[in-house]
Symmetry: C2
Subunit: 970 residues, 2 copies
């Protein structure tokens, strides 16, 4: 498409190359003289304009061939209703429509104020369907409006009138890449199409107006004429005018230029339009120019008539500018490669602390990054200048765009120190984006604040592969987790309050309160009508219900023993693991035991991550099962009336957050469901927006929590099943250290020094640990994905150790196995990894899911356990068997399974390292997350509320009140 | 100061009025010829430049006289280290320094990339100390940088080189209000100062460069010369040149213009600088211009030499531009009146619902509003485009600025429906800002989300007097309340966890964990050193402590019975009013009873509201007393090690939020401490920023919760005491309805229809209720403030009722009593109120506090109760007596009192209406909020956790997933 746009530039470049000499009056050989006399050739603006409009129609046709939904858009803003303006606007709309431009006449009332008009123009500036904006002058308004301010409010890149100061400035200094003012551009085009050479000619421009004289003189100058500008203060104007080979007149005085002013053979372009009394005309007058046409045509070589000269050209050039602007927009839209400018990285040795590295790099302005990756300004809500929310409307705008490759970064079974999955992901995207110049987006989870204040160590990656600014990333960000907490706890409050009110009120009283009479009227709210419908009551008049229906409607009859909904805080607060609520006398003894979880363990967080749009989110919120009633039927959030309120609280949270890597490439941070009891992946929406933004040659790299047996399995079977996306490759992150641990190495404990086994070469131990790596490679292959093994280097690793991991990986069928030093080198250290990922994604996509939803719940669990974990079988506890039965009966049997299992082992027992085979996996409990859309199988006790240690990270964290900087956070 | 700036414009306007004719070679009478021959007069650029620099020094002196801290600032950005550039930069720095401009040479390495350079320039653009930026060309860089992009990255309003496309554009169209390029401006100035008339002259410019030829031609044209531009493609250049009365040469060829090219008597301005070999010079070369000087001076009337002609003028004009830019900045800084453009209001009849009104008005872009009220862009963090956070650095920048008038809006004892205090406040600021054109800021509290989802009715005002967008205002806003909750609960978690760890570990083990050995090293964190110091242990080596000191340091020994710190949620969750925590087996039976409050009741919210800066906030957070130890000593947040972590969580929350009124005037929303158990006012920081932004003729209007006996009393005695501000006036909002209630009217209940007494004229009832109004008037007077009574009109009020209220108020000594219809008419309905407030503030400020801090706690309570409530005496319960004793001993006796009393009555009993006198006020309990800095006196039970009703507002709230709009919120 760039070719398309290049053509326009060539039109401009053509000017000085035209061959015909001027000043001689000699007629061009290829064009028969219209008259046999010595009179000037008439330059018909009408005819030339028609040609131009036809050319433009052709351009528009070829644009729509490239992108069928694309239409050039012009908006003509008019204030008030002057009749002369109406005539001009009708002409413009007609010309535009014929060409295929969608021209809209935006009529605004005379009462509009300057602020309101500016706001209106801003809206048009931001509207991606609009490529050209003109404000019809003069403004016909009641209150004074500064028309210059209005002209300058139009975005320069949509200023198809060419009147914005920036476009005037570009022209003045010979930069013809902006928009040229229509009338003077029309003049030049007439001269050019008449076959007259401008370069070297002497040109005189009469008049210095902003719209005609000044830009005409500049255009002539940059077409290499020697230009003199005359105006009211000019002496000897006739003499100067007579020196002109090219004379452009725009001085506003009827027939001022006489034949005697004109050099014989000169080209005369008359921009004037004046009304002259003419009794011979029915109207009593006729239009004349600033040149005395009858006299002039006897002397000039070429002359434009009035009307039919410059007039039609003004409209034609307006159309040309509009098409040109549309071509640019189309070009941007079709451009596959971003023009992203990476932030340079200058790694220090030895590698400093994460915070020192992060502070050493100044992030680029997030608005700039958003622009670089093709976001429109209206799609971006800035939160300060280092983070922004992205509107879901991007998905509509890019609905037809091809998606990029989808890469999931998973890990082997990790040591308690973690094996650097986030760091490797960041290294990979920095390599792809800043070094391989590919469009790439990292899609990460937002970390919980619990660990931030608990254990030292952020989740932003590490070393020279990080998200910045890390303090924003690890703290409130844009408040999404807070919104999840607020929604979760509002539902909890409503749940307990409802139980209380049902306990303390009779059916009728409850009903009267639920459907109160306000000013004599009573009606159901929409959410109450939904509940009636679920109950099979097809009534809409609250007074029409029977006694029995009152009760059915008003009484949810929740069985407190079955309540699954818990309150949450985003803090490690162990004292909230088990609590009794409702002990105030005001609750009349209706207390119960419950607990708080950490906020990221909320089902709402999983809903946020799995929703595909606002509507889908609302449905999922409505469907969340909070408990069962005494008859065993599920009670949902919708039954409690909170669906809309929850959606309102979560509306902004559903928009992903844009941040950046240390090398200035884009990162989307969104959602962070616990990988223990939920699916542990970032949001579908962030990935979808990312895949569309990067386009078909680009990449979205996302992370799946814990080992491939947990995070990747759920990524595929839950997240990808929901989104319908097929990932193209998996990057499996491993370390020498972790494999040694699986080979029987000493325990690895945070805080304690590492055993020598890990800091010295030990090929034997490494060899013994390989089965764990091989199981994870096989896990990736089970989904039909090419597996790229990434060996995340630690300084104490040896080359022989790396070679052993590589050869074992390749032997096991890994697509590639590469050593990566992104931690110490940034993207430059992950280029080989990036190359391997690019190649893996170029392979055909053979992704397949592991199981069908139709299988019974136990069969699905068994499939996962045997394939992914190496288990022999799954055994359900009595409780779990009962739950499976109940959930299946309640219609939840065809949901996917979310396994809740230790992350420390492939088995259900965290102490068993390596790759055990044939073991029995015990499932203790089963419950449904109906909103998230999965059934959770609990393999043993999983805490949802971490605690603080005696000396948590809190002690080191401080705010420097002089600099405002956070200290000790990482 | 505008006069200052006007002078500069006049310089430009002077051009065409100079009298001397040119083209005649005639010498000016007032200037003796330098030579007796016919040779041209030499125009000495050196001399003229010196004059200009001296003029500028004078200008700078007068600027600093106006504002002593003000210094014009110039930044000269250099990439690399070219020696020729160094020479130029030294010249510029020298010239600037002599004039009094602070010129900084910003040297950047050759390795800089384009993105980094752009970023650097952006920083300078945003730096208010910088008035001029030039980028020294050529760039001496390793990687390619687009110099045009760099030039255009400089903010046009700081582009003192005049090379930005916008400034070129302004010049092109004859708008001389931008910055003129220095060299051509210097040329014109030389011509002008030589006494040559430009208007009407024929001028020829040789060369069309962006820096010299093109702008010189434009300047000559707009000074009304008839200008011809010649360049490399010009034919007959000698002939054209010979026609020039004024010849400006900038073509880059040494001595190209010969004597024969020059019209006798012409003015010749030579912009060329070329090096010519000259064996007679020691250096072997000398500088020559583009004009053959020796020949030309024999023909020309005036001529500039090289060197010493145009060269020095370039530097002088650069200085002139810089001073001009500084003058504009100073002008903006000293300007007292904003140029704020209100949003027009078109009230409908009947008045629609609040949400319909709010939706009907499109808020202006918040960045625009921020600019209108004088905020620099670096001081504003946008949160989308309708709300923004304001940096505390504003207070530093405006430290020397005079503050505006400070108005507090208070109320009488309200009915449960509220009497429209917020609405009246909004009406008042809309009237002051949009109708009286005064600088005014409304400073409001952020509402809790609890009531938003509980009771219908937002806190954004109502009718045509509102904050918009109301949904942002009533929901998460920018997350401040969430941050308060997070901080509050982190402290709670750390408190319980610490108790648990102290219960389960011996001194030594505890100590080892608190001060662990990491890689062989152990050290105290700064917060631990603070605790040591408080304990009187002056050691810094963890291994140097004695056994006893281990224990003293490690064991806080909290008495669980004394714990005052509670967890919070921002939700009406009645089940959390009394709970038992720590019931999980992991807590080993160390459970305890506690409760949750609503987040706005957190002491941290009061701290946020009362802090004067980050540092002050941190101190207050450190001082918060969470419990007492078993020896009765207070245990603080700092003892628990959380001060820094809390400050980090609250760093952004301390920045006030900018929003706007329905009429587009600024509103600061910040903090929202409960008025029951805290002081119930918005933040000191928001008020301080507001007072500085509005300036000495402006107004900050803020609200105090509940009746004047509660909110206003605390506003004065706590908030103003802390901030040191003296409010200028109080607006006392009353309604006919409330006064009737106090006169014995039927109970007023939300949801129930109003008794006829309230909807029909009833002067008798009104008369009886007057004492309540009079007590509140007296309350304002007790603080020495003029009281403006605002009668907030309801449609059923009668004129007689209004008159009765007015006359009673005036008789009681109110400064004014006005009827206000802002609810139905917006600011237009509150103009009379605004006028009264303006007049009240023009009175001298006689504000005084009610009591001295030195008084005993009981005496302070008594003073408040007798003066503000009409009580006869205060009686402490035994418990309260004991607490008063303990707090006094612990050093909290000299804090102000925060009375916690029902808002429904002047007395301690909500059922007693009117204005009871001589009653006994019972104080049941007393505790300290040491961080907030007050002692709370509890007059009866005050719930800190509201509940949801059977049918809360939740049922009506919904999100329209098609439009994204929130429905039913209000």
């Amino acid at each position: 498409m760039s070719a398309q746009y290049q053509k326009f530039l060539k039109v401009l470049e053509k000017w000085p190359t035209d061959k015909t000499k001027i000043g001689s009056g000699v007629q061009r050989r290829d064009e028969p003289a219209r008259k046999m006399s010595n009179e000037a050739k008439i330059i018909s603006g009408t005819a030339v304009a028609k040609n131009i409009r036809e050319e433009l129609r052709g351009e528009v046709t070829s644009m729509t061939r490239l992108l069928p939904k694309f239409t050039p858009g012009l908006r003509i803003v008019q204030v008030g209703g002057r009749e002369d303006s109406n005539v001009y606007i009708r002409m413009k709309v007609k010309a535009a429509t014929e060409i295929g431009i969608e021209a809209v006449h935006v009529q605004l009332p005379r009462t509009i104020t300057e602020v309101e008009l500016l706001d209106k123009i801003n809206d048009l500036n931001d509207d991606p369907r609009v490529h050209g904006i003109i404000v019809q002058m003069p403004l016909d308004c009641d209150s004074p409006i500064d028309s210059h301010r209005i002209t300058d409010a139009v975005a320069p890149e949509k200023d198809v009138d060419g009147l914005h100061t920036v476009n005037e400035g570009r022209l003045a200094i010979g930069d013809l890449g902006g928009f040229l003012p229509c009338t003077p551009w029309g003049c030049i085009e007439l001269i050019r199409r008449a076959g007259v050479e401008i370069s070297g000619a002497r040109a005189v421009v009469l008049g210095r107006s902003k719209i005609v004289g000044t830009p005409a003189a500049e255009l002539l100058k940059w077409a290499h004429a020697t230009v003199t500008v005359c105006h009211s203060k000019t002496r000897n104007i006739e003499e100067i005018t007579r020196s002109a080979d090219i004379l452009v007149v725009g001085i506003g005085v009827a027939e001022m230029v006489k034949g005697s002013w004109i050099k014989p053979g000169a080209v005369v372009i008359d921009c004037g339009i004046n009304v002259k009394p003419d009794p011979s005309k029915a109207s009593g007058s006729r239009l004349v120019g600033d040149v005395d046409y009858e006299e002039a045509k006897k002397v000039a070589g070429h002359i434009t008539p009035v009307p039919g000269g410059v007039g039609p050209m003004t409209v034609a050039m307006l159309m040309k500018n509009t098409v040109r602007s549309a071509a640019r927009a189309l070009d941007r839209q079709m451009r596959t490669q971003w023009t992203l400018e990476p932030l340079p990285l200058k790694p220090l040795r030895p590698v400093p602390s994460d915070i020192v590295i992060a502070r050493g790099q100044k992030p680029k302005d997030i608005a700039l990054l958003a622009k670089e990756i093709g976001l429109e300004s209206r799609e971006v809500s800035l939160y300060g200048n280092k983070k922004a929310k992205i509107s879901l409307s991007v998905l509509d705008r890019l609905a037809d765009k091809e998606a990029g490759s989808y890469v999931v970064v998973a890990g082997i079974t990790p040591t308690p120190l973690g094996e650097g999955k986030s760091t490797s992901l960041m290294g990979l995207v920095q390599a792809l984006g800043a070094h391989k110049k590919r469009n790439v987006i990292a899609a990460l989870r937002q970390p919980s604040q619990g660990p931030t204040f608990g254990i030292k160590g952020g989740a932003a990656g590490g070393g020279y592969a990080q998200v910045i600014p890390m303090e924003e990333f690890n703290l409130h960000l844009t408040g999404d987790i807070h919104a999840v907490s607020a929604a979760n706890n509002l539902l909890a409050a409503q749940l307990d309050t409802r139980i209380f009110h049902e306990c303390t009120q009779k059916d009728k009283a409850l009903y009267e309160r639920l459907v109160p009479r306000i000013k004599g009227q009573r009606k159901f709210s929409p959410i109450q009508l939904r509940r009636l419908k679920r109950l099979g009551i097809e009534k809409t008049d609250p007074d029409a219900l029977t006694e029995e229906e009152y009760g059915a409607f008003a009484r949810l009859d929740i069985d407190p023993e079955t309540i699954m909904w818990e309150r949450v805080v985003d803090i490690n607060d162990r004292y909230l693991r088990s609590i009794t609520v409702g002990q105030s006398p005001t609750e009349k003894g209706i207390s119960r035991e419950t607990r708080f979880s950490i906020a990221v363990a909320s089902e709402i967080m999983a809903v946020l991550a799995l929703s595909r749009c606002l509507k889908d989110m609302k449905h999922r919120l409505a469907d969340m099962v909070v408990a069962f009633d005494r008859s065993g039927k599920p009670v949902t959030a919708d039954d409690l009336g909170v669906t809309g309120a929850l959606a309102v609280l979560l509306k902004d949270a559903l928009e992903p957050n844009l941040m950046q890597s240390l090398e200035g490439t884009p990162v989307l941070v969104h959602a962070g469901p616990f990988a223990n009891i939920a699916h542990g992946c970032n949001s579908i929406i962030a990935d979808e927006i990312g895949l569309k933004l990067v386009g078909k040659d680009g990449f979205v790299c996302t992370e799946a929590g814990f080992g491939s047996d947990i995070g990747m399995e759920k990524f595929c079977n839950i997240k990808c099943r929901t989104s319908g996306r097929k990932p193209n490759a998996v990057v499996l992150v491993t370390t020498v250290r972790a494999i040694k641990m699986h080979g029987g190495g000493a325990p690895v404990t945070p805080g304690a020094p590492l055993n020598k086994q890990y800091t010295e070469e030990n090929l034997e131990l490494l060899e013994k640990g390989l089965p764990n790596l091989l199981q994870h490679i096989a896990n990736g292959q089970a989904f039909g994905m090419p597996v790229v093994v990434c060996i995340n280097v630690h300084v104490t690793d040896t080359q022989a150790e790396h070679e052993l991991l590589k050869s074992a990986s390749l032997k096991a069928g890994a697509f590639a196995a590469v050593v990566s030093t992104h931690w110490s080198d940034g993207g430059a250290g992950a280029v080989e990894l990036a190359d391997a990922v690019i190649k893996a994604c170029e392979k055909g996509n053979n992704f397949k899911l592991l199981y069908d939803l139709e299988l019974p719940l136990l069969d699905k669990m068994t499939k996962i356990a045997t394939t992914m974990y190496g288990a022999g079988k799954v055994v359900l506890s009595a409780n779990a068997q009962e739950k499976v039965k109940r959930l299946t009966e309640a219609g939840f049997g065809n949901l996917p399974i979310c396994m809740s299992k230790t992350s420390g082992s492939l088995s259900g027992d965290a102490k068993i390292k390596g790759a055990p085979k044939g073991f029995t996996l015990d499932v203790e409990d089963v419950y449904v997350s109906a909103g998230a859309g999965f059934v959770v199988a609990m393999c043993g006790e999983i805490t949802k509320m971490p605690g603080l240690s005696t000396r948590p990270a809190i002690y080191d964290i401080d705010l420097n009140t002089e600099t405002g900087q956070i200290e000790g956070l990482f």
